[in-house]
Amino acid sequence: MAAGTAGPAGLKDATAIVGIGQTPFAKRLPEDERTLACRAVLAALDDAGIAPGEVDALASYTMEETDEVELAKACGFGDLTFFSKVGFGGGGSCATVAHLAAAVATGQASVGVAWRSRKRGSGARPWTDTTVQLPTPAQWTRPYGLLRPVDEIAMLARRYMHEYGATRDHLFNVALACRNRANQNPAAIMYDRPLTREMYMTSRWISEPLCLFDNCLETDGALACVVISAERARDCRRTPVYVHSAAQSLPAQHHGMVNYWNDDPLTGPAWTAARHLWKHSDLAPEDVDVAQIYDAFTPLVLLSLEGFGFCGRGEGGAFTEGGALEIGGPLPVNTGGGGLSEAYVHGFNLINEGVKQLRGTSTAQVPGASACLVTAGEGVPTSALLLRS
């Protein structure tokens, strides 16, 4: 194992994802979030061939409702010696795996499980709870009717389109690539529903300049994955998918979803995450075969393409032209359908899809894929993973 650059016990390739699991995805599932969490976690452990009693580390999101005690006692975990939760909604997805990788690489634990269970399809929309949402910095935005995440991101999207000449067709290219991959994935909510440019251009507005198809799905579902040392991973039943590089990112003077108050609001957390990710990697953007880019809203993908170095500043829109994000293009993205068309579970399905690509088992397999970038929410303190086979 090559020595990492992060210190004497670097993260580079020190750990691997050896199991993934998920429940069905639907607008409404009958079971509660806790039950769905248990099902996804046990499916991931079964996939890995590791007994629940061996689990000694957990990581999830601060927004996750099923806590460690509930999960551990239901699933029959052993004694836990590491547990961690990451904030900022979908910005925390990749960080759950990163925290487990750090824990395993430094000997704090040996078998880690990351998970997310959410009934966002049948449950309440978080922005409708004004008691939770109103404290600072909401005082500066919500009284004026900037109420929902889509409104906050649409504000940046309009400015981005104005500065760089990006168009709705560029946003459509993102929505279409995700939908086309979902149409290949029987587990995707939009499996049997093709998208056309006509449908996109005539759909209802949600927050101009963003329409219905610029928004992710609202989904019930749960996913999980299992992280262990690279050494042990070589003896597992599945092809190990190595955590080659991992990063968290909260840029200086970043303001979260309403990042309107610094010198350059159009370079967000993706840029900071990318600098760290590439610095600790043997790979460069051109070595990435396939990417799973957080897509709560289509403009986040354009920003992320720039931030992670696949194109220059302001070129994210143009990059999507000519089928660039489709299978066969220079950077196939969100090959399970992403949050836009497979399921929106705070980006965890992007992690599992990255694993499937590197195992060679995706429903939209990129031939010979050996390196996959997975990103978390742009526009909030974020995280990212570079996975390799």
């Binding site: 929309r125 409708t128 004004t130 109103l134 404290p135 600072t136 910095p137 909401a138 005082q139 500066w140 935005t141 919500r142 009284p143 004026y144 009717g145 900037l146 109420l147 929902r148 409104d151 649409a154 504000m155 940046l156 309009r158 400015r159 104005h162 209802r204 507005w205 949600i206 927050s207 101009e208 300049p209 003077q253 303001h255 309403v258 309107y260 108050w261 610094n262 010198d263």
Partner: protein, 137 residues
């Protein structure tokens, strides 16, 4: 309609706004203005601050037009605009607000085709909230 639920750092902004004054927090040590307000200066770490009167003029930096689903009071007024205004002489101070047809006019009163990034705007106060109207000149 939602009222600002303020905190110790933000309260002075709203107290001045209730009097029809647009003031932003600035460092009493190095003089740098900052928004949103916070306990200390990110440039020099001073805890001393003042509330500086700023010209109530600026330009539209960006805008959105929300459509339902929205909270009921807002859904009734939709589609309406929400703008970010970049203040003259303080380019990093950008205030979220609404561009309305005139003082006292409601959200959504300005026709959408009048909205433009770069448009010059001027502050008006409505029930303690700063709102914005197009400059005529």
């Amino acid at each position: 309609m939602l009222r600002p639920v303020t905190d110790a750092d933000g309260a002075p902004f709203w107290e001045y706004a209730a009097r029809g004054e647009l003031r932003v927090q600035a460092c009493a040590g190095c003089g740098e203005p900052r928004f949103p307000p916070r306990p200390c200066c990110p440039h020099c770490q001073s805890f001393e601050a003042e509330w500086r009167l700023v010209p109530g003029t600026g330009r539209v930096w960006s805008y959105v037009v929300p459509h339902p689903p929205l909270l009921p009071d807002y859904a009734e007024l939709a589609p309406y605009n929400v703008v970010v205004v970049e203040l003259d002489k303080a380019p990093r101070i950008r205030l979220v607000g609404n561009l309305v047809a005139g003082p006292g006019e409601p959200l959504g009163s300005l026709p959408a085709d009048r909205l433009r990034i770069g448009a010059r705007v001027r502050v008006v106060f409505d029930d303690g909230l700063p709102r914005w109207v197009l400059e005529r000149s």
